[in-house]
Amino acid sequence: MKLTRRDLMVMSAAGFAVTALPAFASLTDDEIAKITGGAEMGEGGITLTAPEIAENGNTVPIEVSAPGATMIAVFADGNPVPNVATFKFGALNPSQSASTRMRLAGTQDVIAIAQMADGSFHKASANVKVTIGGCGG
């Protein structure tokens, strides 16, 4: 059977084309340290909701929630600039939560750090796969 261009394309299309950028992890760690002063971060007490697979890296919906927090900072460890947003909550904010839409340059971890009223820090992270579409991306 003659191997056509189309057959070749079909054969190589088995699976996701997933981009994974070299980890800008140290950049992210530095930015996190600016907030925490290098303090230990506890797990739990903060929820980060993000899709497992982002249909498009341009617009990825996320939600952060940390009851009792004064502030939540969000980072993306594979973006050229890891900082995403910082949310400060006022007294009239009953749930210390917020939703937004963010940009992800490729598959990476989204990290959320909450500062609680007692000054302690808590961390949550989620890995989001960012895919390249088949029809021209």
Binding site: N56, N58, G136
Partner: protein, 276 residues
């Protein structure tokens, strides 16, 4: 005739998490849409038609259910403002003649249609108004002004089933569109049908192939953060298979638009929809 080569089957099996379209219900602002229905009788190879909404991730699907969350609505807002703007030598705005845009309810379901022997799209009608009656410049076929306005006018028909005519004066145009749909073109030698009829529901790399329905256009694509017109998308599709695209607003794309609209007859207008 559905052609499934051994290689295609191998890909389907190898793709692992291949997922056919889901059977969620689309409800926009509380109104249930017809997003799945029997294929129109003229379609020989497809039994059920599905809106492109069913092929997207749950996060993308959610964006379309609420008019505030729908990012395409910002452009509808801009068009609402534009409706009242005087433009052109006649000193008129859209509002001067048309008063309330709600009067256009139903229009989107019939387009494209034949007027005086010519096949016309919504973009044609809008530009005809602008040049002939407002003395204004025509808008770029897929520019932000035009897509915002076609979104606003199409929105007035949201929920109503598509119902374009394919007989009588439309027959010749429809046949031409059908032929274009099934003709292979480009370096990758593919026809619209190879993806959208033979392989809808299958993953192509990381993209979930839809049936290529047009009931949601103009559509807000996450990929380019804006509303996209039908001809703009046809152009992109052709470029993706490395064919020289036909001209937006030209005879080929208009005929193709008619044929594609007819493949979606029965599906609710969803404009402005949200897709990847």
């Amino acid at each position: 005739m559905r052609i499934t080569s051994g290689l295609m089957i191998a890909t389907i099996l190898a793709a692992g998490s291949v997922s056919a379209q889901d059977d969620n219900t689309l409800s926009v602002e509380g109104e249930t849409m017809i997003s799945t229905t029997d294929a129109p009788s003229h379609m020989e190879n497809v039994g059920t038609i599905y809106s492109g909404w069913h092929f997207r991730s749950s996060e993308t699907q959610a964006l379309q259910t609420d008019d505030f969350d729908n990012p395409g609505m910002i452009f509808v807002d801009q068009a609402i403002d534009e409706w009242d703007v005087v433009d052109g030598s006649a000193g008129k705005a859209c509002a001067s003649c048309h008063e309330d845009v709600a009067a256009f309810e139903g229009l989107r379901t019939q387009l494209p249609r034949v007027d005086d022997g010519q096949l016309v799209t919504m973009e044609n009608l809008i530009n005809e108004c602008r040049t002939d009656r407002m003395g204004a410049e025509a808008w770029k076929y897929s520019g932000t002004d035009m897509t915002g306005m076609t979104a606003l006018i199409s929105l007035q028909s949201r929920g109503l089933p598509m119902n374009v005519a394919i007989d009588g004066d439309a027959a010749d145009f429809w046949e031409k569109g059908k032929e274009l749909y099934y003709t292979r073109v480009g370096q990758l030698d593919m026809a619209c049908s190879n993806c959208h009829e033979d392989n809808y529901g299958v993953m192509i790399r990381a993209d979930h192939l839809s049936q290529g329905q047009t009931n949601g256009f103009p559509t807000y694509r996450l990929k380019n953060d804006k509303l996209n017109s039908m001809h703009g998308r046809f152009k992109g599709c052709m470029a993706n298979i490395r064919a020289t695209p036909y001209k937006e607003g030209g005879d080929e794309f208009k005929a193709l638009e008619l044929y594609l609209a007819s493949r979606g007859n029965g599906l609710s207008v969803e404009s402005p929809s949200v897709r990847n």
